[in-house]
C-alpha cells in the first residue's frame, strides 16, 4: 500500500525535513484553534471540510474538473448522515496532514493507510476499507505468477509504500522505487521491470484505464486498512464519523458504494480504451497554465519593487536597515522555496493567528522569495554602473536619491534585464511548488491528469509544451526590450 511511512512519495525530499519541523512546531505550540462545531459533535447545517490528494483513482481523482472516486462519494454520504454540507480541498499528499493540523480542514480522506506510526500522531476513524497489495506483470509474460516468481528479477514500487516492507522478505528481488505508481507501470510496460508491487484496486484501475498491456496476478499479499483522519483531540468528530459509518453499513448504502467501485461488476466491466481525450486535457492544462501565469505575474509585479527597495536598503547609511536587508536576502535565498511556502501557509497561522487563503499565501511566498533574488540582481546591476556617473550627478548638485533615480538606476536597468528575465522564467517554473498548498497550477494539473488518465507518457510532454508556451514569449519579449534599450543609447 502506498503512503506508508510518510508523505514523501513525491520527489520533493527537501520539503520533508521541514514538514517534520512544521509538524513539531504545531505540536509544540499546540493548536490555538477557536472552538469549532466539531468539538460539540453536532454538524447539522455546518460545513464539513475534507482534504484529499486527488491523484489516486479509484479512491480520488479529478474527472471532468470534478472530484470523483470512492472516498469522495463516501465523504458525501458521511456528511449527509451528519446533516452537514461538505467542502473538499484537493491538495498534494505532502501537505494534507500539516493542513489538517493547522486547522485548514476537519478531516482527511485520501486512501490513508492506518499504521502504528500514524496512529500515534493522528486520529483515525474505524477502518472503512480493507486493501492489499498484488503484483502486476506484462500480459504476455507468463513467468510472473506472484511474489515468489519475482525472485532474481526486478520489481518496481512506489516510493515509501508498504510494498517495500513486503519485498524486504525477498532480498533476492531487486527493487526500484518510483515517485508515483503510474511511472512504475510505464517502466514495466517498457520492459525495464518484471513486475510492479502495489495497491490492488489502484493497480487494477491503471491497468484497465491506460496500461492495457499489463495484468494483475491476483491474490492479495497483505491486508491493510484505510481510515478517515482527524486531529487526535477531535474525538467528538471522530465519534460522529464512526456513527455515520455504522449507520451507512446498517442501511446497506456502504455496501452499495463498495459494489459500485470494487464489486464483480466493476471489475468485469469492459473499459473502453478511449485514448487520451486531448480536448479535455488541453482545457485542464490551460486552466493550470492560467493559474501559473497569474501567480508568476502577481509575484513578479510585487517582487520587482520589493527587490529594488531591498537592494537600495542595503546601500543606505543607516547600518541596522542595511543589515536587515542583507539578512532578508540571505534568509530567503538560503532556504528552499518549498520550505517558505509551507512555513507561510501552515506555520504562520499557528504562530501569529493570521489565516492566509492559499492563493494569498502562494503569492506572498513567491513574492518574498523572488524579491530576494531580484534584490541581488539589482545590487549587481547598480554596482556595474561606472562610479564616475554618480560623481558626475553629485557634482551637478543632485542629491544621492536623485542621482540614483535619474542616473544610476536607468543604466542599471539595462544591465539587469537578462538576469531579470532568467528570474522570471525560474519563478514561473518554481511556482509549481505551490501545489503543496492545494493550488491547482500547471504541474499539479498534470499530476492529476496523468494519474486519472493513466497516461503519464502523454501528459508530461504536454505539460512541458504548456510551460514552453509561457516561457518562449517571455524570453522573446525580454530580448526585444533589450534590443530597444540598446538602440536608445
Amino acid at each position: 500500500m502506498r503512503r506508508f511511512h510518510s508523505s514523501c512519495h513525491r520527489a520533493w525530499t527537501p520539503g520533508l525535513a521541514l514538514l517534520g519541523l512544521v509538524w513539531g512546531l504545531l505540536w509544540a505550540t499546540g493548536c490555538r484553534e477557536p472552538e469549532r462545531p466539531s468539538e460539540r459533535g453536532d454538524w447539522k447545517g455546518r460545513t464539513l471540510r475534507i482534504g484529499t490528494d486527488a491523484t489516486y483513482p479509484p479512491f480520488e481523482s479529478v474527472r471532468d474538473g470534478e472530484l470523483a472516486g470512492f472516498d469522495i462519494e463516501l465523504g458525501a454520504l458521511i456528511a449527509e448522515e451528519l446533516g452537514a454540507k461538505v467542502a473538499w480541498t484537493n491538495t498534494s499528499f505532502d501537505g494534507v496532514f500539516p493542513a489538517l493540523m493547522a486547522g485548514k480542514f476537519d478531516l482527511v480522506m485520501s486512501a490513508v493507510t492506518m499504521t502504528p506510526e500514524r496512529q500515534q500522531r493522528l486520529g483515525f476513524s474505524d477502518p472503512y476499507y480493507t486493501a492489499g497489495q498484488t503484483v502486476a506483470a506484462r500480459a504476455g509474460d507468463a513467468r510472473i505468477t506472484g511474489l515468489e516468481s519475482l525472485r532474481g528479477k526486478v520489481a518496481g514500487i512506489q516510493l515509501n509504500t508498504t510494498a517495500a516492507l513486503v519485498l524486504k522478505q525477498y532480498p533476492d528481488v531487486e527493487v526500484r522505487q518510483y515517485p508515483s505508481i503510474d511511472l512504475a507501470l510505464q517502466d514495466l510496460l517498457n520492459g525495464n521491470l518484471d513486475g510492479v508491487v502495489g495497491d490492488a484496486p489502484t493497480l487494477h484501475y491503471f491497468i484497465t484505464h491506460g496500461f492495457q498491456g499489463l495484468r494483475t496476478t491476483g491474490g492479495l499479499l497483505t491486508e491493510e486498512h484505510y481510515g478517515i483522519v482527524s486531529k487526535p483531540e477531535d474525538t467528538a468528530l471522530r465519534e460522529a464519523v464512526n456513527g455515520a459509518l455504522r449507520r451507512l453499513r446498517e442501511s446497506g448504502r456502504f455496501a452499495a458504494l463498495e459494489e459500485k467501485y470494487f464489486g464483480e461488476a466493476a471489475r468485469r466491466a469492459p473499459v473502453e480504451p478511449t485514448g487520451v481525450p486531448w480536448g479535455r486535457v488541453a482545457r485542464r492544462l490551460a486552466q493550470g497554465l492560467a493559474l501559473t501565469l497569474g501567480l508568476t505575474a502577481l509575484s513578479l509585479l510585487a517582487g520587482l519593487p520589493l527587490g529594488l527597495v531591498v537592494a537600495l536598503g542595503r546601500r543606505v547609511r543607516m547600518r541596522p536597515l542595511a543589515w536587515l536587508c542583507a539578512a532578508y536576502v540571505e534568509a530567503l535565498r538560503g532556504t528552499p522555496l518549498l520550505v517558505q511556502i509551507i512555513f507561510i501557509y501552515y506555520a504562520l497561522p499557528q504562530l501569529l493567528g493570521v489565516d492566509l487563503a492559499p492563493m494569498l499565501a502562494a503569492v506572498l511566498a513567491l513574492t518574498l522569495n523572488s524579491a530576494a533574488y531580484v534584490a541581488e540582481i539589482f545590487r549587481a546591476g547598480i554596482a556595474s554602473v561606472d562610479p564616475g556617473q554618480s560623481e558626475a550627478a553629485r557634482a551637478l548638485g543632485m542629491s544621492p536619491a536623485q542621482a540614483m533615480r535619474h542616473v544610476i538606476l536607468p543604466q542599471a536597468v539595462r544591465n539587469v534585464l537578462p538576469p531579470l528575465t532568467n528570474e522570471g522564467i525560474a519563478l514561473l517554473k518554481d511556482s509549481s511548488l505551490v501545489s503543496i498548498i492545494g493550488m491547482a497550477e500547471l504541474t499539479r494539473a498534470g499530476q492529476e491528469l496523468a494519474s486519472q488518465l493513466a497516461a503519464p507518457l502523454a501528459i508530461w510532454p504536454a505539460v512541458a509544451v504548456f510551460y514552453l508556451l509561457a516561457t518562449l514569449p517571455l524570453t522573446r519579449l525580454a530580448s526585444a526590450l533589450e534590443r530597444r534599450l540598446q538602440r536608445q543609447r
Binding site: D386, G388, Q389, E391, A392, A393, R394, A395, L396, G397, M398, S399, P400, Q402, H406, V407, P410, Q411, R414, Q488, R489
Partner: protein, 244 residues
C-alpha cells in the same frame, strides 16, 4: 572677498597624504591653471573644491560658505561649482539635450520648456546646437567633452573646475575643447584648470600654480612660472614635459 579660499588643506587617504597643506585664493573672473607631475595632488585639490572629497584638515570656503560633510551644504556647494571630468562622464542613457537639462530640471526645478531653452543655449555656447537630439555615444570625444562643459554651465556655476579636460582626447580633438574654454575665460568665467596644455596656460591663465608632492611649490604669472621657473622641481618638470 575671494570666491575660493583654501587654508592649510590636508587630504589623507589612509596613511597616504596627498595634500600636505595647500593655501589658495581665487578671485572672481580669475583663471588659475594647476600644473605638476602626476600624483602631485592637483586633481585631489579640485575634487576638494567641488565637494567630492572632504578635507582631512584645514578649510575650503567657496563664496563665503565652508565645505562641510553635510548633505544640504554639499548640494548648495555643488550648485555653485561646475566640474568637468577627464573622462567626460556624460549620462549614456540620455540624449545630449537631456544630459544638459537633467540637473536644471531636477535640482533647480526649472519647467521643461524653460530647461530645454536653457539647454539649447548652452549647447550653442559650445557650438553643438545641432547635436541636441544625438546620443552621447554618437559623438566624438571632443564633442562629448564640450557637452560636459555645457552640462556644467547650465547650472550657472560661479566657478568652473576642469580636471585634465583634454587628457583623454585624441590630439586633433584637443583644440576644439580648449577653444570653448578660451571663450569661457573671455566671458569672465572664474576657472580652475588642471592641464598639461602649456600653450593654453600661457595664453589664458592669469596665474599658474606648480604643485609637487601635495604642496604648491611655485606660483605666479604664466610667463614667470613657465618661462623662468625659480624652483628646481618646476624646472625639472618643465624640462621633461618639453622633451616629450
Amino acid at each position: 572677498m575671494s570666491l575660493v579660499e583654501v587654508r592649510n588643506l590636508h587630504k589623507r587617504f589612509g596613511t597616504l597624504e596627498v595634500l600636505r597643506g595647500v593655501d589658495l585664493t581665487v578671485e572672481p573672473g580669475e583663471v588659475v591653471v594647476f600644473v605638476g607631475p602626476s600624483g602631485c595632488g592637483k586633481s585631489t585639490l579640485l575634487r576638494c573644491l567641488c565637494g567630492l572629497e572632504m578635507p582631512s584638515e584645514g578649510e575650503v570656503v567657496v563664496g563665503g560658505v565652508p565645505v562641510r560633510d553635510e548633505p544640504k551644504a554639499l548640494q548648495a556647494l555643488h550648485r555653485r561649482v561646475g566640474m568637468v571630468f577627464q573622462r567626460f562622464l556624460l549620462f549614456p542613457h540620455l540624449s545630449v539635450l537631456d544630459n544638459v537639462t537633467l540637473a536644471p530640471r531636477k535640482v533647480l526645478g526649472l519647467p521643461d520648456a524653460e530647461a530645454e531653452a536653457l539647454g539649447r543655449r548652452m549647447l550653442e555656447l559650445v557650438h553643438l546646437g545641432e547635436k541636441a537630439g544625438a546620443w552621447p555615444e554618437q559623438l566624438s570625444g571632443g564633442q562629448q567633452q564640450r557637452v560636459a562643459i555645457a552640462r556644467a554651465l547650465a547650472m550657472k556655476p560661479e566657478v568652473m573646475l576642469f580636471d585634465e579636460p583634454t587628457s583623454a582626447l585624441d590630439p586633433e580633438l584637443v583644440g576644439e575643447v580648449l577653444e570653448v574654454m578660451r571663450e569661457l575665460a573671455r566671458e569672465g568665467m572664474t576657472m580652475c584648470v588642471v592641464t598639461h596644455e602649456m600653450g593654453f596656460a600661457e595664453d589664458v591663465a592669469h596665474r599658474v600654480l606648480f604643485m609637487d608632492a601635495g604642496k604648491v611649490v611655485e606660483e605666479g604669472a604664466p610667463q614667470q612660472v613657465l618661462r623662468e621657473p625659480k624652483h628646481p622641481r618646476t624646472r625639472e618638470f618643465l624640462a621633461r614635459l618639453l622633451r616629450r
